[in-house]
C-alpha cells in the first residue's frame, strides 16, 4: 500500500526553524445545499493556495460521504482518518495525507464508515487549533445540510466561504446558512462564491445574474466561477482544475485564492461584448446554430 503517513519536515517543522509558531487561518467552505460545488471549491482553492507557496491542510468533515480525496486523487493513500485521530489510534500528523505534486498541501480525510456523530464540535476545534500552528490555511470542507455535520465543520473556523449557484434553491439555502453563520460569534467574516455561472443564460435573462444573487443575499463576493465542462474531466482524473492553465474556471479559482491572500484582483469578465454588433452576431450565430 502506498502511504504517506509522515509529512515532510519542510511542511510541519518550519516553526522550529523560525523559532515561532504560525497561526493559520481556518476557513470553512459551506453551502447548505448539496451539489453546488463545495468540495470542488475546496480542492481548487486549497491547491491554488499551495501552488502560491502557502502551507495548506484540507479537512474533510463529511463523515460517511467523503469525496475530497477523490477530487485530489488521493483516495488510495489514505491510511488514517479524522476519526482515528479523535479516537487516538494515531497522531494528528500521521493522519495527514500529502498531495502527490505539492508538498505544501495535505488532506485530513473523513472516515467513510462512520456517521456525523463520530466527531464532536470540541474535537474539531482542537484539531483546528493544533493545525493552526503548522499551516497557513486550514480549509474545512463542510457537509451539506444544517445539522450536526455543519455545526462541527463551523466549530473551529473563524472565516467562511458560502458557495452558491445562480439557482433559486441554492440561493435560498445560502441565505439560511448566512443566517446561521451570522449567529456564530467565532465566525468573523463570510464571503460569497458564486459557482456554475453561465454567461449565455444570464445574457438571455434566463438565469439570475451575479449581481442579482449578491443583491438578494447582500453578502460580500469573493469569487465568480463559470460553468466549465473541464470540471468533470478534472474530477475524473483526480486533478483539480487550477492545474489546467487554460481553464477559465481554473483561473477564476486562482483569483479566489489570491483574494484570500489579500490581493486585490478584479473579477473575470465572463460576459461577452454587449454592443449592437455582438447582438447581431449572436442573432446570426443563433440562426446557424453555432452559438458559443
Amino acid at each position: 500500500m502506498q502511504t504517506c503517513i509522515k509529512p515532510e519536515p519542510s511542511v510541519l517543522d518550519e516553526k522550529d526553524k523560525k523559532g515561532e509558531t504560525m497561526s493559520g487561518r481556518v476557513i470553512v467552505i459551506t453551502s447548505g445545499k448539496g451539489g453546488v460545488g463545495k468540495t470542488t471549491t475546496n480542492a481548487n482553492i486549497g491547491t491554488a493556495l499551495a501552488k502560491a507557496g502557502k502551507k495548506v491542510v484540507m479537512i474533510d468533515t463529511d463523515l460517511g460521504l467523503r469525496n475530497l480525496d477523490l477530487l485530489l486523487g488521493l483516495e488510495n493513500r489514505i491510511v488514517y482518518t479524522i476519526v482515528d485521530v479523535v479516537e487516538e489510534r494515531c497522531k494528528l500528523k500521521q493522519a495527514l495525507v500529502k498531495d502527490k505534486k505539492n508538498p505544501n498541501l495535505c488532506l485530513l480525510a473523513a472516515a467513510q464508515t462512520r456517521d456525523k456523530t463520530a466527531v464532536t464540535e470540541e474535537q474539531l476545534k482542537n484539531i483546528c487549533e493544533e493545525l493552526k500552528k503548522d499551516f497557513d490555511f486550514i480549509l474545512v470542507d463542510c457537509p451539506a445540510g444544517i445539522e450536526q455535520g455543519f455545526q462541527n465543520a463551523v466549530a473551529g473556523a473563524s472565516e467562511a466561504i458560502v458557495v452558491t449557484t445562480p439557482e433559486m434553491s441554492a440561493v435560498r439555502d445560502a441565505d439560511r446558512i448566512i443566517g446561521l453563520l451570522e449567529a456564530k460569534e467565532e465566525i468573523k467574516s463570510y464571503k460569497l462564491l458564486i459557482n456554475r455561472v453561465r454567461p449565455n443564460l444570464i445574457k438571455s435573462n434566463d438565469m439570475m445574474s451575479v449581481e442579482d444573487v449578491v443583491e438578494i443575499l447582500s453578502a460580500p463576493l469573493i469569487g465568480i466561477i463559470p460553468e466549465d465542462t473541464g470540471i468533470i474531466t478534472s474530477t475524473n482524473k483526480g486533478e483539480p482544475i487550477v492545474n489546467d492553465e487554460k481553464s477559465l474556471a481554473g483561473k477564476a479559482y486562482k483569483n479566489v485564492a489570491k483574494r484570500i491572500m489579500g490581493e486585490d484582483v478584479p473579477f473575470l469578465n465572463l460576459e461577452e461584448d454587449t454592443g449592437v454588433m455582438a447582438k447581431v452576431k449572436k442573432f446570426f450565430s443563433g440562426l446557424i446554430g453555432k452559438e458559443k
Binding site: S204, N205, M208, S209, D212, V276
Partner: protein, 168 residues
C-alpha cells in the same frame, strides 16, 4: 412624413433588439419569487400572520386617522443589509380631536370594564360562573371591534347600518 417613416423603422428595429427585455423573463420571476420566500424564511412570518398584523394595524390606526383600508399596504422589504417593514397608508381624512378623544375614551372604558371583570373574578369564589361571564365579555368585545372596523369611514352614518347588521 419622412420623419415618421424613419422613426417608425427605428422603433421597430429597436423593438426587435429589446424584445427579450420587455416580457417578464425567467430571471425576473426567479428574483421576485426568491425575495418573497426569503422574507418569509428570515422572519418566520407566514402570509396568515402578515394578514393578521395588517388587520391589527388597521384597527389601531383607525383610531387616529381615516384611511383607505383596501389600499393599505404592509410589506417586508430589504433595504441594503436591513429588513424593513414598509407600511403605506392612504389617509382619507385626519380625524379631529373630539373624534379621537371619544374613540380613546370608549377604549379606556372598555379596558376598565375588562379589568373590573378580572378583579371581580378574583374576588368571587364562584369560579365557574365568572369564567363564563368573562368569556362572554371577550366574545362581545371582539364583535365590537369588528363593528368598529366596519363603521370607521363615517361613524354617524353607518351607525344605523350597523344596527341593521346586528339585527340580522
Amino acid at each position: 412624413m419622412n420623419d415618421n417613416i424613419f422613426t417608425n423603422l427605428y422603433n421597430k428595429v429597436l423593438g426587435f433588439f429589446r424584445q427579450t427585455d420587455k416580457e417578464e423573463n425567467a430571471k425576473d420571476i426567479a428574483c421576485n419569487r426568491l425575495r418573497v420566500v426569503l422574507m418569509q424564511d428570515r422572519t418566520n412570518l407566514t402570509p396568515e400572520l402578515m394578514e393578521r398584523m395588517r388587520k391589527e394595524l388597521i384597527e389601531l390606526l383607525s383610531k387616529y386617522v381615516e384611511m383607505d383600508k383596501e389600499a393599505l399596504e404592509l410589506n417586508l422589504e430589504q433595504d441594503g443589509d436591513q429588513m424593513a417593514l414598509m407600511l403605506s397608508i392612504p389617509v382619507l381624512r385626519a380625524r379631529n380631536e373630539e373624534e379621537i378623544e371619544a374613540e380613546l375614551a370608549a377604549e379606556d372604558a372598555e379596558k376598565e370594564e375588562v379589568l373590573e371583570a378580572a378583579e371581580d373574578s378574583d374576588d368571587e369564589p364562584d369560579e365557574n360562573q365568572t369564567e363564563a361571564e368573562t368569556e362572554n365579555e371577550d366574545t362581545d368585545e371582539s364583535e365590537d371591534n369588528k363593528a368598529v372596523d366596519i363603521k370607521v369611514p363615517d361613524k354617524e352614518e353607518t351607525s344605523s347600518q350597523e344596527e341593521e347588521k346586528t339585527k340580522k
